[in-house]
């Protein structure tokens, strides 16, 4: 990211204080979102989300696997994010590793709930085929192609759309031997669509000066003192919370930011749902 001069930083801070950002948006306005589904035909589901100049792809692959011993009635999901060097020169080699880890952990926390699997946005019990023996392993991969701020929101939106695009093949269980792995027949034709009504979206509020903004560009992010990412589902319930940045926040400010994020997220969910519906309609 190129540095900013003092004059430019002053201009950005002034814009946020006066509710008119560099591209004319208000503080709580998102950039225009464009969504494409099915960009990776070999994956079970995929989506590409563009948020201004930020460009991310999420892909979902499902493979047969064995459920963990502690949770025999739930499938497994793993989320991993990769920052491509085409997004920024600093991502070359191992430079993007720290950011990728941060994003992966934040997404896991928001979408998969606690370590016990409780409270996951994705229903893990729908992934089980034979209790204790066979389940679906979902591998969710995020790829950052172009980075202009607000990667977490874009990735969460891409994952939500990709899940709506995912088709898990229908499986019929043959032979039921008690100890060994049962034989399963994976259908090539029939697919089960994933139910994404419970999947939350993430809204990141960046605090600059005394005000918060939604959907910061990378220039605005360079001016932030702290940021809170709130994951909210359709019913307005908070599914996850992450705070970044070294500056401290008063508890009342945190509560205020959460309530602002809640109201903004409902608009975002509406926009994403209409995009998903449009994409499904264009497929048919």
């Amino acid at each position: 990211m190129v540095g900013l001069s003092e004059g430019e930083k002053h201009f950005i801070r002034g814009g946020i204080a006066q509710d008119l950002r560099s591209d004319g948006r208000k503080r709580l306005q998102f950039r225009s979102i464009s969504v494409e589904t099915g960009v990776i035909p070999q994956a079970n589901g995929s989506a590409r989300v563009r948020l201004g100049a930020t460009d991310v792809i999420a892909s979902i692959k499902a493979e047969l696997g064995k459920p963990s011993i502690l949770r025999p009635d739930k499938g497994k999901v793993s989320i991993f994010v990769d920052c491509s060097p085409t997004a920024a020169p600093m991502f070359e080699g191992r430079g993007g590793e720290e950011l990728s880890n941060d994003l992966s952990v934040a997404l896991q926390r928001c979408l998969l709930g606690g370590t016990s699997g409780a409270g996951a946005g994705i229903d893990l019990s729908s992934l089980i085929i034979v209790d204790g023996k066979v389940c679906w392993d979902l591998y969710i991969d995020g790829l950052v192609i172009s980075s202009d701020g607000n990667l977490l929101d874009a990735l969460a939106a891409a994952i939500k759309v990709a899940l709506s695009n995912t088709g898990i093949p229908k499986v019929s269980v043959l032979g039921a031997s008690s100890d060994e792995q049962p034989d399963v027949d994976v259908s090539d034709e029939e697919f089960l669509q994933f139910d994404t009504s419970g999947v939350p979206v993430i809204v990141t509020l960046t605090k600059v000066g005394r005000h918060y903004i939604v959907d910061a560009t990378s220039e605005e992010e360079s001016q932030m003192s702290s940021a809170i990412s709130v994951s909210v589902n359709r019913r307005g319930q908070i599914c996850g919370l992450t705070k970044r940045g070294g500056a401290g926040l008063d508890p009342s400010v945190v509560l205020d930011m959460i309530s602002v994020a809640n109201s903004v997220s409902q608009q975002l969910i509406t926009v994403l749902d209409s995009e998903i519906a449009a994409a499904e309609a264009s497929e048919e």
């Binding site: 190129v2 540095g3 900013l4 001069s5 003092e6 004059g7 430019e8 002053h10 201009f11 950005i12 801070r13 002034g14 814009g15 204080a17 006066q18 008119l20 950002r21 560099s22 591209d23 004319g24 948006r25 208000k26 306005q29 225009s32 464009s34 563009r50 100049a53 000066g209």
Partner: protein
């Protein structure tokens, strides 16, 4: 069209397609009109160029003699001037010429010079001796001046300067001696592809009706900011500036909202035109901004579908009227 792909509805898509088709059929205001070539021949790398082998033609830039055939080494348009045949690349990095006005960002402070990033293959150099001192006196630069370089320009500052010449290794020498050059503050810097900015007589534009300074650098860096009188640019010491900026924030004296609205509108007009690939001239930028005002489009909606299609159609009308005037 890059970067910007607004979601168009059906009527907008149809209008856009027909406008683009008309644009392709109309000749643009490029040199192809002057040379009265019937059709501009576009070539890609390794395409053969049709030449009459009897004349001894000169093979210029972007061509290669391959087994007796003249082959293009660049993607572009073939231009012929008398006996010279060359390929004019359409999209290329900034090609500097002496006297160009450019906007750059300081990336390094070296002994007696600043190094600027200007979207060129090499870093440009601004010597301390090519810069007016804050006190305005013409004198020899002493060691104390050299130590105080940071008080004139710091790292990451945005500077406007002029190309003075080339060094022996091809890197640029800049000079910023006049009052209108110097540090740029209170505004935003936009980056567009360098080939969209043509050389004109004036690159500094003070848009009076908006109170906005628009500096169109030949290297593709465009500065849109609050209007500053020439002479206030140079000579602001950094410590004073830091004190005033903290004081400004406390008293809330940021750029006034009306000026800020105009700055954002002009900046969005520049973004829109660069995404469409149209040449950036002051007239085009101001026209686009005024059209958006006339159609009551909100500033943040300027990058949306409505103004997108409108701008392409206006450009079609402009070129059609130009062709009618010439013919």
């Amino acid at each position: 069209m890059r970067d910007l792909q607004p979601s168009l509805n059906q009527t907008q898509r149809v209008r856009l397609q027909s406008a683009l088709r008309q644009l392709h059929s109309l000749p643009s205001s490029s040199s192809s009109l002057l040379y009265s070539v019937a059709v501009a021949v576009a070539v890609a790398v390794a395409d053969p160029i049709h030449v009459n082998h009897e004349d001894n033609i000169l093979k210029g830039h972007g061509t290669l003699d391959c087994d007796g055939e003249v082959v293009a080494t660049l993607c572009g348009v073939v231009e012929r001037v008398n006996k010279l045949v060359y390929v004019h690349a359409l999209q290329a990095r900034y090609k500097p010429e002496v006297g160009d006005i450019i906007v750059g960002r300081v990336i390094e402070i070296a002994p007696k010079r600043w190094r600027l990033e200007i979207n060129f293959s090499q870093v440009a150099v601004l010597m301390l001796s090519s810069m007016n001192l804050p006190d305005g006196i013409q004198r020899r630069r002493t060691a104390v001046d050299e130590l105080n370089m940071r008080s004139i320009f710091e790292e990451n500052d945005v500077i406007c300067a002029e190309v003075r010449g080339f060094q022996h290794d091809g890197s640029l020498h800049l000079q910023a001696r006049s009052q209108k050059y110097g540090k740029l503050e209170r505004g935003q810097l936009l980056t567009v592809p360098a080939y969209l900015v043509k050389r004109r007589k004036k690159h500094f534009h003070h848009l009076e009706q908006y109170g906005v300074d628009l500096i169109i650098g030949c290297n593709g860096f465009i500065w849109v900011g609050e209007h500053v009188e020439a002479g206030e640019n140079v000579g602001m010491l950094v410590e004073d500036q830091k004190k005033t900026s903290i004081a400004e924030e406390e008293s809330g004296s940021f750029t006034p909202l009306e000026t800020r609205k105009h700055i954002c509108r002009i900046a969005n007009a520049v973004r829109l035109l660069s995404a469409l690939g149209f040449t950036l001239t002051v007239e085009a930028i101001v026209d686009t901004a005024e059209a958006s005002l006339a159609s009551n489009i909100e500033i943040n909606d300027m990058l949306g579908a409505k103004l997108f299609v409108q701008t392409v159609e206006r450009e079609v009308q402009r070129r059609a009227s130009m062709v009618r005037k010439k013919g």
